[in-house]
């Protein structure tokens, strides 16, 4: 692995024996990600990490000149597990660009579809992909001591989920042979059926349009959805305590595990589920309708809610280069100087971005990935913050909890927590869950929030179904608002893809797309060192990770690194490589935190 070079010029620090280990590809994610690390086995710590993506497709290039009405059909194809989030976000931007407001029932139908997507996607990722990192087979191979302890540890909530010991939970998570693995896989089909009822097809919807939906709202549509939803609600009453038991056990069995994947609390959430009573899709009212979303947008820095204003969020997005395979656009065309409210728009904002790919050799001392480095400018300090999404749920919960705005009966944000109410189901009574702001932004808490957010999505869907049926019963069944494509427009859409923040920025000229830049969650999480030397969140989180695995370099699986990376729910044609190779040992001076590189 001679390509990993030149990280060591700056300040003199202690000498360490580092072993290069790369994982390429990282499996059980969507997309191709490689993670290249240097590991200090003596001190049981990851010393250095680079995250690299192996694919370039060029959406912002081939969308130029296309009809703006096609944007949601095209951008859905960006992602094969949350494509509908893209389609939805694109229709939000289209609505703004075309100056239209869909009928209320259409918004409820979209919200029901998107809620089903969260229920499906978090479920399959958590229990069929991430869950394998916590399954008996894996723990046996990486930490036999932990498995032995799990065999002796009773599950605190076995009465609810039926697994007597923690090891029984781990066995149930074994891929394909585990009973809970298979139950979760089957449940992921039920929720996708719910999705198909509202949006036609999973994962690239057929019934979404600018102006509303093509879905025909009938009594049967909502009956078919609701009976499936209640089965999922019952499932969640077992799944939340099951995961609490499993995750709490890891803190108990491996003291210090909170440091795995831990980084500074730097979380972004762009808000989800529009409220048709408030949302008119105009830019000038965006702060108001952003606040009315059923997941509140926000930027959380060190536990403080810095903003919950979508206009503020929008204007401070910056796309940086530094380690990515592109030429800069600083001196290229400026598409917009000001937003529709008259605020200045930076040249590094997605509205003004131009994409110039320059394929080249991978060089970890220089350019090493197709991912750019999105940052959020904190005006208080002038820092370009490497916000992460924590895989989505932890950021959504944190922002929603602190903002304290959501209060819909099934869900209440309290200012320090989020309460979730689930009604009685076939065999289990009503229950209230409460997600509380955790002490850390780390792997376990990202995973835990994912489970709780499945319950949140189900509770929100109960509310949306009630609202939709009220429209239906009142005879307001029109699902679409007609429009004309304007000659010129600028617009943006904000949404939460399953694994975190999603924005689409579009410029229309001469009735065509003149510029289009989508920013999904994974570029926020998987990006490389930027022009200022700030590493991306995966790199940062992995670099801080201690090694708890019992194996030495010869049989090393990198399980703690895998848990750290997968906690972000990577979803991108990009990759994390860990390569043990021949166990080549480097002797090098190492700057532990990677500081600033010029």
């Amino acid at each position: 692995m001679s390509t990993i070079t030149g990280t060591v010029k700056d300040s003199p620090t202690k000498t360490k024996n580092l072993v290069e280990m790369n994982w390429d590809p990282i499996t059980r994610i969507v997309g191709s990600l490689g993670i290249f690390t240097k590991i200090d086995f003596e001190n049981r710590q990851v010393a250095e990490c680079h995250s690299t993506s192996s694919i370039f497709r060029g959406y912002s290039i081939f969308m130029k000149g296309k009809d703006p009405r096609d944007a949601h059909f095209i951008t859905s194809r960006i992602c094969g597990i949350c494509g509908d989030n893209h389609a939805t976000c694109a229709t939000y931007a289209q609505n703004m660009a075309f100056g239209i407001r869909p009928p209320a029932i259409a918004e409820w139908i979209v919200n029901l579809g998107e809620a089903a997507e969260y229920m499906f996607d978090h479920n399959i990722f958590q229990d069929n992909l991430v869950g394998v990192d916590f399954c008996e087979q894996m723990v046996k191979e990486t930490n036999p001591g932990v498995l032995a302890q799990a065999e002796k540890t009773a599950s605190p909530h076995s009465d609810l989920h039926g697994f007597r010991t923690i090891a029984d939970i781990m066995r149930a998570l074994n891929p394909f042979t585990g009973t809970f693995y298979r139950e979760a896989l089957q449940m992921s089909r039920l929720t996708r059926e719910m999705f198909c009822l509202m949006e036609g097809r999973h994962v690239h919807p057929s019934t979404l349009y600018p102006g509303g939906v093509g879905t025909v709202p009938t009594i049967q549509l909502f009956t078919d959805y609701l009976v499936r939803l209640m089965k999922y609600v019952e499932f969640m009453k077992k799944v939340v305590p099951l995961h609490d038991d499993l995750f709490d056990f890891f803190y108990e069995a491996l003291p210090g595990y909170e440091q795995v994947g831990q980084r500074r609390v730097l979380l972004g959430c762009w808000g989800s589920f529009n409220n048709p009573a408030v949302c008119d899709y105009t830019y000038k009212n965006m702060s108001q309708w952003g606040d009315a979303m059923f997941v509140t947008p926000g930027v959380v820095v060190d536990g403080q809610l810095v903003t919950h204003d979508l206009v503020d969020i929008n204007l401070n997005i910056r796309i940086l280069l530094g380690s990515s395979y592109y030429d800069d656009w600083q001196n290229s065309e400026t598409f917009v100087k000001t937003d529709p409210l008259g605020n200045p728009v930076d040249q590094r904002h997605p509205w003004n971005q131009s994409t110039f790919p320059r394929p080249q050799k991978r060089d970890f001392g220089g350019k090493y990935t197709w991912v750019m480095s999105p940052r959020w400018l904190d005006k208080r300090t002038g820092d370009h913050l490497a916000l992460d999404t924590g895989g989505g749920p932890i950021a959504r919960f944190w922002a929603t909890a602190l903002a304290g705005k959501v209060d819909i009966g099934y869900i209440k944000a309290t200012g320090h927590s989020v309460k979730i109410y689930l009604p009685k189901t076939t065999s289990l009574p009503e229950v209230e869950f409460e997600w509380k702001i955790p002490k850390w932004s780390n792997a376990i808490e990202r995973d835990r929030a994912r489970t709780y957010f499945q319950a949140y999505a189900a509770a929100a869907a109960l509310y949306f179904a009630e609202q939709a049926m009220a429209e239906l019963h009142a005879g307001r069944t029109k699902t679409w608002t007609d429009f004309k494509v304007p000659e010129e427009a600028i617009a943006c859409g904000f949404h939460e893809a399953v694994r975190g923040v999603l924005s689409h920025h579009v410029i229309i000229r001469d009735h065509k797309i003149a510029n289009y830049h989508p920013y999904p969650p994974t570029p926020w999480n998987a990006n490389p060192r930027d022009i200022y030397g700030t590493p991306g969140p995966y790199e940062d989180a992995v670099q801080n990770t201690p090694i708890f695995e019992e194996n030495g370099p010869d049989k090393f699986k990198g399980i703690d690194i895998m848990r750290a990376v997968r906690s972000f729910d990577p979803c991108l044609p990009c990759g994390v490589h860990m390569y043990l190779g021949n166990g080549k040992v480097l002797e090098t001076h190492h700057s532990p935190m990677f500081g600033h590189q010029s």
């Binding site: 096609d70 992909l129 994962v203």
Partner: protein, 352 residues
């Protein structure tokens, strides 16, 4: 004499004891086809892997979205297959094939790292290594089969479908043509059923898979969307929707169903639910070689629909003849999808 259950002799072991499926998701795609197959129930992925269908060999799946192994532990199957030591195996390709010849250096799509050079191993390199050793090569989804979204006009990567890359007359060591299962993404059961058919064929339980001239299974893609659509009755009555959300025929709102080969309205998306025009979504032709360019802008009425929908009284041969012309047009890929060294998509790179 050993006691055996009544009927035991009906169960014959497959003449092939084990089959590997090496599934590449590293084309220019979205992994949507891998995600799609986890939705399948006819058969489900676990039905096939856990031996729930009689007569099949033991199946080992090597797919990056579902694999237990990571990194080199995972890629060892790729290397074994390339060395001819993973026999027999079926190669599934997902994502369009970029053109790595149009630039001087770097890569568009890759999987794993070359231990000698430290550089990524390109997707194309893997196809070159694996296709000659595979029992069968299957394209999953429209990107892999014909190029799809990432091969639209103005694309910077020169991408194309598998048959454009390997050649339309390509044959596997077992004499099979490329098998194309298009769809964006692939309809879950369509893919798993094709895979099941190939496993039956490998086991000697089915004859050569029947494919049309676009290399699609004929039983899945022989009929048009319109022929299987439950809104075709409105069409017959000349009763067309003017707004989205109407239960009537949506051909005037942009539906290409009359000329698109696909069974989705008939089969539904999953468990018989969902779909496209049958549930209010215009057919944008996502299974077709001409997708997406020949169907854009999607929300305009297809040119042919004005004639045929207007002359609905004149049934029969004339309409079928008109549709057959359009059908053969949209069954052709645009000319810029090719493996040559020039980029002809209309994009003019300034940096490579």
């Amino acid at each position: 004499m050993e006691q055996v259950p009544y009927g035991h002799k009906t169960q014959k072991p497959s003449p092939v004891s084990e089959v590997h499926i090496v599934w590449m998701t590293s084309g220019l795609g979205c992994d949507g086809d891998s995600v799609s197959i986890t939705a399948a129930t006819q058969p489900s992925i676990e039905d096939v892997l856990l031996g729930a269908i009689p007569g099949l060999p033991k199946v080992h799946l090597h797919n990056p979205v579902l694999a237990y192994e990571v990194g080199d532990d995972f890629l060892k199957y790729w290397h074994l297959a390339a060395e001819g030591k993973l026999n027999p195996f079926v190669l599934v390709v997902e994502g369009s094939i970029p053109n790595e010849r149009i630039k001087k250096q770097g890569y568009w799509a890759a999987l794993g790292t070359d231990s000698k050079t430290g550089q990524p191993i390109t997707t194309n390199e893997w196809i070159d290594r694996l296709a000659p050793k595979a029992l069968a090569v299957v394209g999953a989804g429209t990107c892999a089969t014909y190029g799809g979204i990432h091969a639209m006009s103005g694309n910077p990567t020169g991408s194309m479908g598998l048959a454009d890359y390997l050649g339309w007359d390509w044959r596997s060591i077992a004499g099979l043509p490329i098998v194309n299962v298009p769809g964006c993404p692939v309809q879950p059961d369509n893919f798993m059923e094709t895979l099941l058919y190939l496993l039956y064929q490998v086991s000697g339980l089915a004859p050569m898979i029947p494919l049309d001239d676009q290399l699609r299974p004929t039983w899945l893609f022989g009929a048009t969307v319109h022929e299987g659509c439950d809104r075709a009755g409105y069409y017959e009555q000349g009763d067309f929707a003017e707004v989205y959300g109407s239960p009537k025929c949506i051909v005037k709102l942009g539906c290409w169903g009359p000329v698109v080969n696909c069974n989705v309205p008939k089969r539904g998306w999953m468990a018989g639910l969902g779909g496209c025009p049958n549930v209010g979504g215009i057919c944008i032709g996502c299974t077709m070689p001409g997708f997406p360019d020949k169907f854009m802008p999607f929300m305009d009425a297809p040119p042919g629909s004005k004639v045929s929908a207007g002359s609905i009284g004149v049934y029969g041969r004339a309409i079928r003849a008109l549709r057959s012309i359009t059908n053969s047009t949209v069954n052709k890929e645009p000319k810029w999808r090719h493996p040559g060294p020039e980029l002809t998509t209309g994009y003019h790179p300034r940096a490579y």
